[in-house]
Symmetry: D3
Subunit: 138 residues, 6 copies
């Protein structure tokens, strides 16, 4: 089994809160991440696909294809954006790292499976905090 990973970067702002919670509860759970005017991060996303290496090209997938899918369906929609208000596929979703990683998976999976299998989406909020989503068990 061979795995190939592409790492990309985007900068975005967000605010963590649940509109169903009171202000007190939002602050209790999300702390300074619930600052009303938001804050932001340099996010890194690592998308890993897996499958067989083609004998004629030596590629699992042509990296240019993977880069293009990732750029069009995810990076261009979140880079230099406010994740609470500017991103259609995150509307009504609290933009925690967990939820952003899952949303990224949902944005790209169907396109990648034309070529190989999507294995994982890893999202780094900072160097010290990161999440990984490997899809739902079916």
């Amino acid at each position: 089994m061979t795995f190939l990973t592409r790492r990309e970067h985007f900068s975005a702002s967000h605010r963590l809160y649940n509109p169903m919670f009171s202000d007190e509860k939002n602050f209790e759970i999300f702390g300074k991440c619930s600052n009303p005017n938001g804050h932001g991060h340099n996010y890194y996303v690592e998308v890993t696909v897996c499958g067989e290496v083609a004998a004629d090209t030596g590629f699992l997938i042509n990296l240019e294809i993977l880069k293009k899918i990732l750029k069009i369906s995810f990076i261009d929609k979140v880079d230099h954006k406010n994740l609470n208000s500017d991103v259609e596929f995150l509307s009504n979703i609290n933009p925690t790292s967990e939820n952003i990683a899952i949303a990224c998976w949902n944005q790209i999976e169907s396109q990648i499976q034309k070529y190989c299998k999507l294995y994982s989406v890893k999202l780094f909020e900072t160097e010290k905090n990161f999440v990984e989503f490997r899809g739902n068990v079916k």
Copy 2:
């Protein structure tokens, strides 16, 4: 001459624009950085001081003092904040990396000069873009 540097981190959101410019001009100059709802970064700041090493301690400055000045006068005021609306010492200042570095210098210089000389403030907006301010020529 000996130099000592402390590196710290903060996460913040910002929007680049000049209220005196038209929307078109703001977009022309600041591009996607002028997105109305803002975006954000994991900023790193490196503060460098210089001077003589004390014979009895082997320290240029006790790092705990430098960390405390930096935390109270700068990091705590910008971390998890919106740099356009939440930071008093940046009010009416366009929060470019250049202006943030200069503002950091102004926040900490008078306190540091009780101990040694402030040499430079380096601000990393991303791994690829950073500025350094070394004070005004007098």
Copy 3:
């Protein structure tokens, strides 16, 4: 399946040796790592937990809880310490990276399982050498 990782840092000294071995055998096996007066490292530890993302918070686990468990039960007990002599839970244990990772797992697992599942403890001795422990097969 979703995974969340927290990365922390500590600085410590250690000496590798087995008191049951002769000095010659200790040096043969542990080389310069068996220097009698010890040496040290900036260790990084990455703790990964896994589970379901809660619908109301968007969190797998509140990161503040994970940070607190890790700080109190592991980091505070090893940071700026001599791993051979200063750490109760490492007494009579040769402080190799393998053994430190396993000891970290044992220190934090019972507390983490109140919230989610501990998946792995990764310990970086240097950028070039690291170990990962994923628990015992039961």
Copy 4:
């Protein structure tokens, strides 16, 4: 289950192309990577082994043994080399990251299995592109 990883570095040049393809097809598939005079990279390789930790040494494998196998059987043969023309075990192989990782696995596996199990070979072509090979399913 415990895992131990060693990270090493080598610098090499390569050109991606398939001699069975036309020049046009090579350029279409491999793009600028098929530049006739080649280009190059600082490659990083991470070799991960797994197994049980020995009670007397606290080691999964003595790192010196792993370093020696990796150096003699792989690094010394690719470092400061042209991967298309200078490396016997890559002759007639298109030196994509996928194929280099698989070739590294084949070079070291039989020697490592005297001590423990080879789990994975991860090859970083750049910070943004990397592949991992975990052996063939048997």
Copy 5:
């Protein structure tokens, strides 16, 4: 005085040798870097400019201008190239890090001085070896 730095990446191959030297002397001086078929690196270049911050934009120079100059006049001419044979401005120049940094300076200086002052060109051949050129004393 304010400084702004942009970091860019390129991958290239090279061979160090002086055609005026014998093969023996080339090997004695350049060692494995004189391997006839070349080797390669992921190079990073950091270009630093200095000057005054404009009051209306908060910019020393618009980063988009600096990126464009750097891309057109340097990166596009060296990325995925063989530095001995594919780069006009390096013809008849031994592509050591020192000479590449100086050549980069010469490629971009006249264009940058329309906006501000070029202060330094830093070239990283690896994480462990890098050079910096700050222009000729006049």
Copy 6:
């Protein structure tokens, strides 16, 4: 003016204290760094030399010479050592980062000046704390 830097690594343990101070004063000044049994770090040292680039080699200094001086006169004497007890040139010196950087300068300067000028010694105790020594004003 051209500068060339070599980055090296060593692992060592140390304890900060002044034998002329009381235990209380040592703890007040050095905090957890004065833990009696010591602690340790992965240190990185960056040595920068400057001068003219030779026309025939394209080198400021042959990197192999710089590496050899640094290895023999500094790295081999501090790597995997206790800086308080195992290093002759640090005897009776409190091993702060400032003092280690100055000691490194003194160990290598006379040998480097046969070839070019030593410009600076930068010592990283952690990623967040580092010092630089540029020699004494004469």
